[in-house]
Amino acid sequence: VFRTLEEKQLLARVNARDADAFAEVYDRYAPRLFRHAYIRIGRKEVAEDLTSRTFLKAWEYLADGKTVNYLTSFLYRVLQNLIIDEYRVKPREILVEEFPDVADRHDANAQMDAILELEHVQGAMRSLPDDMRTLLVARYFDQLSIAEIRSMTGKSSNAIYVALHRGLRALRQAVEGVERSK
């Protein structure tokens, strides 16, 4: 809701096609967009490709003389469209490959339970349909606001709320399934 003066100035410079400003946008958003794509698609090289192309597409849009009102919503929407257009894969193909080893970053035993929990959620996420996972990732991983998700997906606030509610319940069910199978 609030944009700092700095963000507004950055946006104005981006809209004026200032390359340095675009570099700042890249530094701010590239890691976020990559993580979003990675969590959803699960393949590092695909996520990298999507992230790069999101910025190229964004620049094409600006180069056409069009302007952006909200950077976050805009960039996520471009990424979302790329995923829909080109990486609409069958659910079984969206398997999340091995994540980098979480355990390395922790003192083994104390964090073991937390890591297991995380793995269960990770496993359960794979079993959800893509549209459900998209919303859950946008809301709880990227922590986008409902307004930003609305702009990214084109769904109404109500639809997003209902879908998130259902998604969390489905995810919980899936987590319980994973826990039982272990």
């Binding site: 609030f2 096609r17 590092k44 990298e48 190229l56 994540f99 995380l118």
Partner: protein, 256 residues
């Protein structure tokens, strides 16, 4: 596993980024960008679009309009109690947008968002009174906005000046208590299932808003409420589980 825990875990899903890729991609993208970039961008602030508070004159105009909107404007005053669907409601929202657009300290923003959140709840109560489908939809939207305001308030808190934080935090906590009271009163009403679920979600989100982002102060009252609310939410949710499970199945079938 609790839903609230699952939300936290989603946020912690590991997705490590390859720093060297990040740097290489940056070079490639910027190389292609610089070919089409505008060579030099004038840094004259007057050339910047729509950042009205960059200009003192416009700032003055904005402040004046707020004074008029809040103090003298009888019409805007009349709009204060309106709800979505009424003629003067857009005016009420316009006045709020002006308030939001004015530069303010983080602690002021916390207070403003908490107040706006409360307004949305008051609208929800009035909308539920109407017992119409359209009013219920509007109420659900208002509840969604309530959540957004609350999140914005919580997001601003860590940005507040250290000396102002305890006070802002205390005020926010008081606001949460009022919100909780209002939501509980809504919950006691005879509501349609979707409306009830939305109210319970909002109740469940209250403590998340309070403890979701790193807080400077311990949030003891909310922690106590959190357990209480979660227990209630879980129980209520179980009641609806069979209905929801059915509808999810139906969704799946449709997709197949």
């Amino acid at each position: 596993m609790r839903i609230s825990r699952i939300k936290q875990l989603i946020h912690k899903l590991p997705a490590e980024i390859d720093k060297s890729w990040l740097a290489e991609a940056r070079l490639e993208i910027l190389a292609s960008v610089r070919n089409t970039a505008v060579a030099s961008v004038p840094r004259n602030p007057r050339r910047l679009p729509s950042t009205f508070y960059l200009l003192p004159a416009r700032l003055t105009a904005a402040l004046l309009s707020i004074l008029i909107l809040l103090g003298g404007g009888a019409t805007v005053l009349a709009a204060q109690g309106t709800i979505p669907g009424e003629a003067l409601y857009p005016l009420k929202r316009a006045a709020e947008r002006v308030l939001l657009a004015v530069p303010a300290s983080a602690e002021q923003k916390v207070g403003l968002q908490a107040r706006l959140a409360e307004r949305r709840l008051q609208e929800v109560a009035k909308l539920f009174d109407k017992k119409e489908k359209k009013a219920e939809d509007a109420a659900l939207s208002a509840l969604a906005e309530f959540d957004d305001n609350l999140e914005a308030a919580t997001d601003e808190l860590p940005k507040a000046r250290p000396e102002a934080r305890p006070r802002a935090s205390g005020r926010l906590d008081k606001a949460f208590l009022r919100h909780q009271e209002l939501l509980r009163r809504l919950e006691e009403r005879d509501l349609q299932p979707e409306a009830r679920a939305a109210v319970l979600r909002a109740l469940g989100n209250l403590p998340r808003a309070a403890s979701g982002t790193p807080r400077v102060l311990p949030f003891t009252p909310s922690e106590v409420r959190k357990k209480d609310v979660e227990k209630r939410t879980e129980t209520e949710k179980e009641d609806q589980s069979s209905r929801d499970a059915r509808s999810t199945d139906e969704d799946r079938r449709q997709e197949d």
